[in-house]
């Protein structure tokens, strides 16, 4: 009998003690997810199209950090899903079924002859890319348009079209090869810039690693190609890598700009909403006037 009581006391005491310990430590180390949210937000395209079902890219990033699925961003496409899966160590999924994939980047254009100047699209644009005034023709600044399509539904005369952006700036595919790298490092001896072409070649899908290996120092002299016993397309791979890195950087810069413009847009809307809310109401003005009149007239 004492054995059972001892056992109960031991386990209960242990559970109580360790539970208290955990509570204290949890209170001491407070959880902060902002780093995760920022890392996710940096990968998102910042088109603010709200197709994911959230108000913008940052709210979606917050939801993903909380466990929302990573396949809800059509503008980001499969590349984004791959990146998010890599960042968060989650399985790659196809784009969510109810969303339609965007095959190529688009941009909205107003058929200016049909525009009636209602200014409804200006309010809808999340990044303030539409310029114009009521009763005057509007136009869209092409470099600022994210192609989100949010201006299409409010337009009463359907004068806005989504037009594919020219494809010259698309990411290129890495060249194929028959025999894999055998790590003989002949190319290392051949390289006049003292790079490590075989390691660069293996880092073809890892921009950060390629940057560490000084990809930008490659002068594309093709001496490594000639020294390679596997006849790997080294120089062509490096060209594609440089091209894709450049596009990636440009996209990042664009996304940053869109994010800032969206923040300003939201701020402005909130500001005007609060102004409207604090404005005196007509009924209150009437009352004020009558009280004033009563005071003035004896």
């Amino acid at each position: 009998m004492t054995g059972i009581i001892l056992a109960i006391l031991l386990l209960g005491g242990l559970a109580l003690f360790t539970g208290l310990l955990l509570q204290i430590s949890a209170a001491h180390f407070s959880a902060d997810d902002s780093d995760v949210i920022n890392a996710i937000n940096e990968l998102l395209p910042q088109s603010q199209c709200a197709q994911c079902g959230f108000a913008g890219c940052r709210p979606y990033a917050e939801a993903v950090a909380e466990g929302e699925s990573i396949n809800r961003c059509p503008p980001g496409g499969t590349a984004l899903i791959e990146n998010l899966a890599g960042l968060l160590n989650r399985p790659e999924l196809p784009l969510a079924e109810e969303l339609t994939a965007i095959d190529q980047p688009v941009s909205a254009v107003i058929r200016e002859n049909d525009c009636i100047g209602c200014s409804l699209c200006i309010k809808a644009c999340p990044v303030d890319a539409i310029i114009g005034a009521p009763q005057l023709m509007h136009t869209i600044v092409q470099s600022d348009c994210t192609g989100c399509g949010l201006c299409l539904p409010p337009c009463p005369v359907d004068c806005i079209d989504l037009i594919p952006v020219s494809h010259s700036n698309a990411a290129r595919r890495l060249p194929n090869f028959d025999i894999p790298c055998i790590h003989c490092s002949e190319c290392m001896l051949a390289c006049p810039r003292e790079l490590a072409p075989q390691q660069l070649f293996l880092a073809a899908n890892n921009a950060a690693h390629a940057d560490q290996l000084r990809l930008s120092d490659c002068i594309e002299c093709s001496l490594c190609d000639r020294s390679c016993p596997s006849e790997l397309p080294l120089t062509r791979t490096f060209q594609v890598m440089k091209h894709n890195n450049k596009i990636l950087l440009e996209e990042r810069a664009m996304a940053l700009r869109f994010e800032k413009k969206y923040a300003r847009h939201e701020q402005r809307l909130a500001g005007s909403a609060s102004q409207v809310a604090t404005r005196p109401k007509p009924s209150e003005a009437e009352e004020l006037l009558t009280t004033l009149r009563n005071q003035l007239s004896p």
Partner: protein, 192 residues
């Protein structure tokens, strides 16, 4: 301290818990996609394993044996391990939020990493001293860390190889793990 060194080295190489005794394979496979997550997992497991072997030794010799409660050994050890894991998770979540996201479910799953409970139980079975118990736990953790880092390096390199369709994914990982295990069998007999 040649004996202590023997215990440490044999736990790392000769009786490696992952590839020789086949304990703790789940995080070994699950958290080794990236070098950063592998190192995070290795650090978390090292912390938990070392502390768990010390704590379980203390509990065994100060509470369970004097009170004749040996039959509660496994459940007590599991409680201790679970608490340590939970504590590690709280700390990692506060200090390394991205690592916390990357490790995901594998962090709480250290609780069910059989290497952790295995080391605690082996310590009891072998009737070692307190120091030896800690050394064995630390050695087992170092062995686990070594293996998971090696394996993640191999997986990193695999990405650039063209693997035949039927072998892609888990299959080639199992084969590579088997080859590492064969290599580590070469250490057998160095025990003396």
């Amino acid at each position: 301290m040649p004996e202590t060194l023997t215990i440490l080295l044999s736990a790392i190489f000769v009786n490696n818990f992952v590839v020789v005794q086949f304990l703790g394979l789940c995080p070994f496979m699950g958290a080794s996609q990236k070098m950063s997550s592998a190192i995070g997992m290795a650090a978390a497991t090292t912390f938990v394993l070392t502390l768990a072997s010390a704590m379980s030794f203390l509990i065994e010799h100060t509470i369970l044996l004097p009170l004749n409660l040996e039959y509660l050994r496994i459940i007590t050890f599991i409680v201790v391990i679970a608490v340590l894991v939970q504590f590690t998770e709280v700390v990692i979540r506060a200090t390394q939020p991205i690592l916390h996201q990357v490790l995901g479910i594998f962090l709480p799953l250290i609780t069910t990493n059989c290497a952790v409970l295995g080391v605690a139980l082996i310590n009891v079975r072998q009737n070692q001293s307190f120091l030896d118990a800690i050394i064995l736990g630390f050695g087992a953790a170092l062995g686990f860390s070594l293996l998971i880092v090696i394996f993640s390096a191999i997986r990193l390199k695999q990405e650039s190889y063209r693997i035949p369709q039927p072998f892609q994914g888990a299959a080639v990982n199992m084969i590579s793990a088997g080859l590492i295990s064969l290599a580590f069998l070469g250490f057998t007999g160095m025990n003396t």
